[in-house]
């Protein structure tokens, strides 16, 4: 039944190739963009391949006493760059627009030769981290925002895992009145749009002196995640064999030891999956952070505010986005093997 003929195989391969290309190509261009200098960003048409060097042509104009610097774009065409006789201006231009870090003296010394020998070509290595440095320079609170994001993620995971797994344990192990109603309620909380809560929550957080703090934000992010955690963990707790716990109790462990040594390790995949969702909520959100903070942004908010609806200098925005993406990617893929065990049963 699993045999396919040649045409079918080719068709399937074509469909899959199209999808993979549609996923990879935007990422490649984006990645290249994050490492482009201020000139390459405006090159057209663009290539999705990183460049590590910059080629310029320098000539000397005897009448004005200026160096005329031209820049070779990625398609090999010459573009005007800068005309000046001052080393500082040269060095500044090279740093800002070409991501090339050279001192004024160094450049002047190298260009000296064009006075006698005519136009010359120079190739320089790009400083690949220029955009990242600049992102932290132009985004005034970027470092603080990075730390804030990490703090708010930790708070969110702690709150939602503690409360959520307690509730999940109750759902899995006990029969009690109103269980179904509480279940429906938890589902509603989980689906409820966070924006709807954040505006009035600001009023309450101000009252508790938690407005513009990371705990305040974590309180909001935990709302859907407590419900989600309780749902994920309860389905795992149901699956954990009760007899294992009872055996442990028979051999003299107390309830707490049993929970730590037997139940918790078995529930680890559920907790890992829950913490991943908590991480993603807290790390990815911008709108609630926009509403609930003033002077202490999270990283996603800082990136959003740095770019706003600009269409210029996208290379810095792209660099900021890479800083934003990498922790999320690492966290997702480290935890993925636990989550894979879950996906079979719980669909989220």
């Amino acid at each position: 039944m699993n045999k396919l003929n040649g045409i079918q195989k080719t068709l399937i391969a074509l469909v899959l190739a199209t999808v993979v290309i549609a996923v990879i190509v935007p990422l490649m261009f984006f990645f290249t963009n994050a490492f482009s200098n201020g000139r390459e960003v405006y090159d057209y048409p663009k290539t999705p391949i990183l460049s590590f060097t910059v080629k310029v042509q320098v000539s000397y104009n005897e009448d004005t006493g200026m160096y005329i610097v031209k820049y070779y774009d990625r398609n090999g065409e010459l573009q005007n760059a800068v005309n000046t006789s001052f080393g500082e201006i040269l060095s500044g231009y090279f740093e800002q627009y070409l991501s090339v870090y050279r001192t004024p003296e160094e450049l002047l010394e190298q260009f000296e030769i064009t006075k006698t020998e005519g136009p010359q070509e120079f190739t320089y290595g790009k400083n690949m981290w220029h955009n990242f440095k600049t992102f932290f320079l132009i985004t005034s609170k970027a470092e603080e925002a990075l730390v804030n994001s990490i703090i708010v993620v930790i708070f969110t995971i702690i709150i939602s895992l503690t409360l959520g797994s307690m509730a999940g344990y109750a759902f899995a192990r006990f029969r009690f009145k109103g269980k179904d109603q509480i279940n429906v309620f938890m589902l509603i909380v989980r689906m409820f749009p966070m924006v709807g809560i954040s505006i009035p929550l600001a009023v309450i957080l101000i009252r508790f002196n938690l407005f513009d703090t990371m705990i305040g934000l974590a309180i909001l992010y935990s709302l859907p995640n407590i419900a989600l955690t309780s749902w994920i963990t309860s389905s795992i707790f149901v699956g954990i064999n009760r007899e294992l716990e009872e055996a442990s109790l028979v051999f003299g462990a107390n309830g707490f030891q049993t929970f730590i040594k037997i139940t918790l390790p078995l529930a680890l995949p559920a907790l890992a999956a829950s913490s991943m969702y908590a991480f993603l909520t807290a790390w990815n959100d911008t709108i609630s952070a926009l509403i609930l903070t003033n002077d202490h942004p999270t990283l996603a908010l800082a990136v959003y505010q740095a770019i706003g609806d600009n269409t210029t200098n996208l290379q810095y925005a792209a660099a900021g986005s890479i800083i934003l993406i990498i922790p999320a990617l690492i966290f997702t893929f480290v935890i993925r093997k636990y989550v894979n065990q879950m996906w079979g049963g719980v669909s989220v």
């Binding site: 909380v189 009035p200 149901v238 999320a328």
Partner: protein, 312 residues
């Protein structure tokens, strides 16, 4: 000192009391109490405040429809509602079709299957803010989308994607959204396919059913719970789209419901009526999502993957 002696004397009494408070019957109550208090303070009271705001005027008088009528008068309200509705329906349908085809193709084992699955999943882990940047670098007129079209010489002039408005802009955002969230639909469908008994399909094959008939008459009906879960979860999320819209198209150019909320709490928050509009918009969005949730719950009660599992 006195208190301590007393406690020692009545040690057994305390234990008795503890046992009465913490036993099997009260355990679920104690386990659920923290969550309950948490939701009371940080979920119910905000909702209460929000309802109060929606039904009072700016000078504090009670009104049933006043704020809603004011909202409907806003020029951007109707486009926002229609755009959101169109977006929610069209994006979910598109994502579902692509994900279903991929899920069926990736469900059979072949060389490189795991790698393809891994690659396709990547966009899901990318922060929405970053997704907007990925696509913005493509949509500017010297961006990579025009570059690609040019290098295949499809077009002579660059398309000003960021200048698109109305339905065209919404379709563009649907495509961007599909790129990033299709994997999350795919996960649910693949999980659902994994639960389908291979023997059912083999039996149908032995009785002479074609591959297409097996997919149409066996796979899809058995997959229905996962499909419902995926579609409704996606719809609820789709109603709340905003970050990509604002970062790619800017405020107000292509209005959406939640984009309006961000607009009234962001750039124009100092206007006297901005808060009221933000409250009313978020109330409206919450009502829409709430209804969708109830529908989801009603349908899923009839047997989704989740339900089967909790009954086990």
């Amino acid at each position: 000192m006195e208190g301590k002696a007393l406690a020692n004397n009545n040690g057994s009494n305390y234990k008795e009391m503890l046992r009465r408070v913490f036993n099997k019957k009260t355990a679920p109550f104690w386990l659920l109490a923290p969550t309950f208090i948490y939701y009371l303070v940080f979920w119910f009271s905000p909702i209460f405040i929000s309802i109060k705001e929606v039904f009072t005027t700016l000078d504090g008088k009670f009104t049933v429809l006043g704020n809603f009528l004011f909202l409907f008068e806003q020029e951007t309200f109707l486009p926002a509602l229609l755009n959101t509705a169109f977006f929610a329906v069209a994006s979910v349908m598109l994502q579902f079709v692509i994900a279903l085809v991929l899920a069926i193709l990736l469900n059979r084992k072949f060389k490189g299957q795991k790698l393809i699955l891994f690659l396709v999943m990547i966009p899901m882990a990318i922060t929405p803010t970053a997704v907007a940047i990925v696509w913005k670098t493509g949509l500017i007129s010297s961006g990579w989308i025009n570059s690609i079209l040019q290098s295949f010489s499809v077009l002579e002039e660059r398309i000003p994607f960021l200048g698109l408005r109305g339905i065209e802009a919404v379709i563009m955002i649907i495509l961007i959204d599909t790129w990033t969230v299709m994997p999350s639909v795919l996960i649910i469908l693949i999980a659902g396919l994994g639960n389908i008994n291979e023997e059912t399909k083999e039996a149908a094959y032995i009785f002479g059913a074609s591959k297409w008939r097996i997919i149409k008459d066996i796979t899809i009906p058995l997959l229905k719970p996962s499909i419902i879960t995926a579609v409704i979860l996606r719809m609820i999320a789709a109603v709340q789209v905003w970050a990509v819209v604002v970062m790619v198209m800017g405020f107000t150019n292509v209005p959406f419901l939640v984009e309006r909320i961000a607009y009234y709490v962001g750039p124009v928050s100092s206007l006297p009526y901005a808060d009221k509009l933000a409250y009313t918009y978020s109330f409206l969005t919450a009502v829409i999502v709430f209804i969708a949730t109830i529908v989801y719950f009603k349908i899923s009660k009839k047997g989704t993957a989740l339900d089967r599992r909790t009954q086990k």
